[in-house]
Amino acid sequence: MTPEVASAVEALVREGVLAPDRAALPLRFARGEVLSVRTELRTLLWLGVTLIVSGVGLLVRENLDRIGPVAIAVVLGVGAAACLLWVARTADRFSWLEQPSPNLAFDYVLLLGVTLLGADLAFIEVKFTPLGANWPWHLLATSAIFAVLALRFDSRMVFSLALSTFAAWRGVSMGTLARAPLGRWDPALLRANAIACGVLFVAAGAVLLRTRRKPHFEPVAAHIGWLLLLASLAAGMLDDAAAPPWAVWATVLLAVGGALAWRAARARRFWLFAIGLLGAYAALGRFVVEAVGGNTPRQIWFLLSSIALVVVLVGLRRRLEDAP
């Protein structure tokens, strides 16, 4: 219930700004006479899918010996096929543009089918090893299948899983990037893969946008891509044993983060602006920390630079305004 909005709707109708028939629903909503539970229903469906996938994973892990690998592979495959068949029968005709879901369950049954399919492919690879030493290629195949399903059924959620599965094929996830300095695997190779994935995703997003083929998928690719790119540059900057030395990584991070922030601010893409700004600030901070000795000058730098940034951002409010 929002009493001031209810009063405003009545006043706007009196002033002729809103037509009475169009104002009826906003008025009821503001008075608390009508409530949409669509978000709650979607949350229930999402939670349902997550619980089913978790339960299936647990079933497979705990009962592998009792049930047998063939039965598990078949059951997972049948489950995935049933979900995807229903989705295929329910879906509208293909379009390169954004399409509304035909019903509330559509996106979630698709997600369930896709995750069961991914689990089935991984299980088959682990238990029957059809690819032998080339087992990681099943991740690439899974990623390609996810991408095709995402494009066909217009699902940004599945598209994000396709990108993350592709990155997993290259050994990249935010978790592995964070753990890279612990030396479990070659950090230089990991960073190179992460940078390549980041650039590829950003480029893929740009192509989708430019060719008007699923342009609404571009934000997913751009956000994951830029995040991977800047996180890997930051990881290189923070790794003192990295080659090339930290100063090179910091310079690149400063340039890339600054350019991203500048372009994102012009395009009013605030999450990208924030990612770019934080990356550039971290790189600049590393230079200052290395250049000045002692705690006091460093504290003064962080005090003055952050206040200056706040002042500049507030000064740029008109350009950066993302609130009504």
């Binding site: 906003p26 949409s36 978000t39 349902g48 979630y108 994000s160 605030f270 507030v314």
Partner: protein
Amino acid sequence: MNAAAVASDRSRRVRVAAREWRAAGVAGDDAVAAVDRLYPDDRLRFGLVMRLVLFVFTLVAVSAAAGLTFLVVDPGGVLVFLGAALWAVTELLAGAFRFHGGGADEATALSSVGFLCAGVAWVADKSGVHSTSTAVLVVGLALLCVSAAVAWRLGEPLFGGLAVVGLAVALTQAHAPRLAWLAVAGIAVPLLERIRHSRDPAPSHRDAAEVAIFLFAALAYFAANLWSFDARTLESFTSGVPAPVLFPRALAAALTALLPAAALAAGALRRDRMWLWVGALMTAASAVTLRHYWRVAPLWALLVAVGAVLGALALLLQRWLDAGPSRERRGVTARPLFERGLVEPAEIVAALATLAPAARPLPPESGFKPGGGTFGGGGASESF
């Protein structure tokens, strides 16, 4: 909040609503422009992302300022002064600079609360309060008072929640903390509900009351929950002799079942989203509690069954609501109304966090290290 801030706060609600109408196709650009003209908002506000950026950089500045201060002055003695100085900065930002929800004002307010509470704890320690119980009580009450004052002055919902946390901390030192949590929640929730549904308070104050109600409901549920009762969770916070419980176990069992039902009923009958969420979360907690005492089925079967039931419940509810007159039942509908577009990004982030596959291991840095790798894909984990 002064009169001008309250007026701006009310205007902002109308401006936000106008944009939601436009997104839903109920109003056009000209209507939104008319609303902006008729309901001016002179406060300095930012959207979620810029607010977060400003919040983070202001916290960096505050931390650096505190670090510099601690280099020259004894940290303990200066905490209260730092807190007071930050309070003054917050007042300046909210007053002369007309910040409201601008990130920077929220960061200085939060830091002010933190430093003031830490300062009170330091003063209590130096004043000869050696009992842990008294120290916890003093800090809890300090958090309650300072947060409530900030919530009242600035109208920031977060501080309404912090005030409840402070009260809860203080009440852990009561003679019977479990009963105290239940009693205080029982008194506070109806009072705060009146504020929440009244026209007079500023919208931000109503939001602060809503956050406080949410937390009071959570406290009451935690106090009443059967597992919490059996584990003596609250009583163990009291230093020295464990506090008495003072109410029967059967009542705890009954409340574990009844509180979720009551919250859900309140949400459905009053078309109140907050109580629906409170009820749903309490139901989930009660289900976990039930599973703790009654292992009715293997965990995997339970997860699959509950997942299937939730999915089926959502679809049945949608069909039932859609079949009603004007696709409504008692004012509740499954149609999308004036919702903000945050659901899908949240789903994507959640899907990436929970369903994305594990990354394949890359070759080790030097030499060959046997031991196998990890597998996964499309939600699969490495361990089959």
